[in-house]
Symmetry: C2
Subunit: 156 residues, 2 copies
């Protein structure tokens, strides 16, 4: 699959990713390192929490989402280079055994005013479980290079 | 340190975390698993990227930030339970050798209308490097239980 330049994007385009199955071991390993709270570490403690059962750290879901994006169809030249994002939400827990995938919709294109070689692409990324239910939604603001003059490959 | 209930928070309060020093190995290990793009994996490739040198994945910075929050002074009863957040930005790269810490400022308190046992605390979390420069800023929306009647400890 070839990479995409700013000119290749249009509002409304939808890109898909592969899938990633998360299991209890992954959830606990990530939580021990980055989010050691009982409902991400221990089945029994999680039962008595608002999650009512073991759930992945939201930051784990975010990291898996990034991995799926990097391997997916949305492939801007220069990489997926985010300067930040808006309004991330985790509408429901991610459980052991869930199979996650991401759909990415281009929602806005903004040429850079100061740099003529790039633009900003706003992409809404929805992470879904195996039932098609969203587990994470966020809008990323990505810097994407414009197609170089003459069509030569650009080392970005 | 005792945990904090919704009633214990006030707009303007600032909480601090400990520190975490990130090195090249951590950056590469995280990137291989979750964000395998050249500027997070390889010094030479990173030199020719917009980062102009090896930089941590933003999601790695986010995960370290969560780890610092969990170990820090901001300690709501029931844990740091985010339903999402607004406007995360990564204003500058995180480099090997950077020492990160987080300051958290309470910016809004919103009692729940539907659930009398909890409220929403909005907290702006700024992750700083050893020079006091922000490397990540986001506003989290956290669910925090109210202090139980009679002061008894509540298993949340």
């Amino acid at each position: 699959m070839t990479v995409q330049y700013f000119e290749d994007y249009a509002v409304g385009q939808i890109y898909h990713s592969g899938t990633h199955r998360i299991d209890k071991e992954q959830i606990v390993v990530f939580a021990k390192q980055f989010d050691p709270q009982p409902y991400h570490l221990d089945d029994e403690a999680a039962k008595n929490s608002p999650f009512k059962g073991l759930a992945a750290s939201g930051w784990h879901t975010a990291a898996i989402t990034m991995r799926l994006l990097v391997g997916g169809e949305f492939r801007p030249a220069g990489g997926i280079l985010g300067v930040g994002f808006d309004q991330l939400s985790w509408p429901r827990p991610v459980r052991p055994g869930d199979e996650l995938r991401v759909t990415s919709e281009v929602i806005e294109l903004r040429p850079s005013k100061s740099r003529t070689d790039r633009g900003m692409v706003r992409v809404q990324n929805t992470t879904l479980n195996q039932n098609g239910e969203p587990v994470q939604i966020f809008t990323g603001n990505l810097i994407v290079p414009r197609r170089p003059a003459g069509g030569a490959a650009q080392r970005y």
